[in-house]
Amino acid sequence: MAASPLLFLVGRDLYVLHPGENAPRRLRLSPEGRHAGRELLLPLLALLRGEAPRSGLGNVVGPLSSLRDGGPVQVADPGARAIAEALGLRVLEARSRVVAEARERLPPEAWEPDRELLLSAAEVGLEERLSSPEEVIITLSREGDRLERLLRKESEALGALSAAAGKQTPVAEYAAHAGEHVRSLEVRYRELTQALEEATVRKLPNASAVIGPRTAARLLSLAGSPAALLHLNASRVQVLGARRRKPGSPGPRHGVLYSAEGMDRVPPSRRGALARSLASWTVVALRADLLTEGSVGAELAERRERRVEALSHGRAVSRPARPEPEHRRTAAEPRTGPAPRGPKHERRPPRDEGGLPRPHGRRPPSRWERRGRPRR
């Protein structure tokens, strides 16, 4: 292993440690001044992510061209790998021990941190991450929810204030100003909602069609990322965003799906049922949005409408009822087919209990069981 040279990056310098040599040699990637501008940072960041640089390789090609004819080179980090691959070298991943020993051989001044560079790299990286469509949706969705809560509070306060205000009092004057404030908040809220809906429809068209863009955005912001969203199953989607409940209480029926399209047209007692259906369709729609780029939204929205229609008229089913099976064996009739397996008490022939079939084939509770376990 020790026979091949090792490439690694330190800041924006490329180092090569040739076998048999004591100290790594430095190859400067960008010869410009200490404080890199943004246009210099972007290729550097790409390099750190492991993408091959488009420029700046000129001063590396010369010193590394001697490696071309030899065997493979070892690389320590994704950036060095990208450079080596761009130069057409054969690449091996270096072992941790080799990397650590090579790095310890550098003189201490090689490690003097370029704080400006690092901070601006962090800034650019952050900007890049936060400007992706899903992060935009998450940010807008959270801000929208915050603004909604704020608006509710402010309008309540305004209502109380105008009730307390007489006509020509200082309170009335203040109430007028507060009213302006609330109206400007409303305008901001409308703008934000519109931007959010546009962004969500673009990123998640199918899910937006099924549950509405606002709710789809909430699901994404709760899951945290599209990948996390894809990991959710329907039962998880159904209760996503529900509050934690005390142990032993009945579970939640819906989380943020409460704000989904069609929920308000269904009586409260049937909203759990609608949430259940919506959740399963949402999962299908999300997979279409994020994996196959198919379009199933219109069809699922139609099914949602049928389901809402059925539930709002008190009928629980939206599909035509299954035909009844022609004949069901009752407990009194003898079984046909293979002998029943199971616990001993179920294998015994059924006792005659006055002709009443047992509801689920279960043994009736004994007197001891009916009374409950005796207390000590």
Binding site: F8, P78, V99, R103, L118, L119, L126
Partner: protein, 240 residues
């Protein structure tokens, strides 16, 4: 615990009382409060208590926010964060504990903070602009080689990442970054390791695995400050 091999002068700096850490007990029967001298300006990061003394601000470590603070309250006696140390800090979140660590290493030390979530990183970046020795890195600690170009060989590794592979990552990072004799501080979140049966011991196997490369002190449970967490400290034996 065996003292670090490479720099024996650190031994005094690692053991109680720690330089750079002030302890106040008032009233005496209450639990002690730990204070670090703030390097940043303005000095507060997360709404912690502040006190002015000797021309500088001292910040109280909130044990409910910081696992390091909780470990100190529960009797941590070995703290491998001496002045002038280079610390690799994984899982910096918004910089609550990272800023205290940066206070401890002082102006001549450096703390390299790795954080994955862009939203937490936004606030961390704000703290890093005020702390001259705090270096933020937007990266995933599950890919230890992605920040190799930025982080020099380190004296101390601080880990607070709630991941199932916490232990493996500690070993990998130590191999890549930690010098032999360097210190480890690890906030181990048991529920993240895996879903154990009730009453199952998850700590024992984790400690055993870590002992391959580290000489560990006794784990400190962080109840009642943080549920399901243990705090481990140790010395790196070196690459085998």
């Amino acid at each position: 615990m065996r003292p670090p091999r490479a720099r024996d002068d650190l031994r005094d700096a690692w053991t109680f009382p720690f330089p750079g850490l002030s302890i106040a007990r008032s009233p005496p029967e209450e639990r002690p409060t730990f204070w670090t001298r703030a390097l940043g300006d303005p000095p507060d990061v997360y709404g912690e208590r502040l006190r002015a003394r000797d021309d500088s601000f001292w910040r109280a470590i909130d044990p409910f926010r910081s696992k390091l603070g909780a470990a100190l309250c529960k009797g941590l006696r070995v703290l491998p964060i001496p002045p002038r140390a280079r610390v690799l800090y994984l899982g910096g979140a918004t910089g609550t504990t990272a800023s205290h660590v940066a206070d401890l290493v002082g102006r001549k030390g450096a703390v390299y903070v790795v954080e994955k979530s862009p939203r937490s990183f936004q606030r961390l970046l704000g703290v890093a602009r005020r702390w001259p020795n705090l270096y933020p890195l937007l990266a995933d600690a599950r890919e230890p080689r992605s920040y190799l170009p930025w982080v020099p060989p380190a004296d101390t590794l601080y880990m607070d990442i709630a991941q199932p592979e916490q232990i493996d990552l500690a070993l990998t990072h130590a191999k890549l970054y930690l010098r032999p004799g360097g210190g480890l501080l690890l906030a181990l979140k048991m529920p993240s390791l895996r879903r154990g049966r009730p009453g199952e011991d998850l700590l024992g196997p984790a400690v055993k695995e870590l002992s391959r490369a580290f000489e560990l002190t006794r784990p400190i449970p962080l109840e009642p400050f943080h549920r399901g967490h243990h705090f481990l400290t140790g010395v790196y034996r070196g690459r085998e």
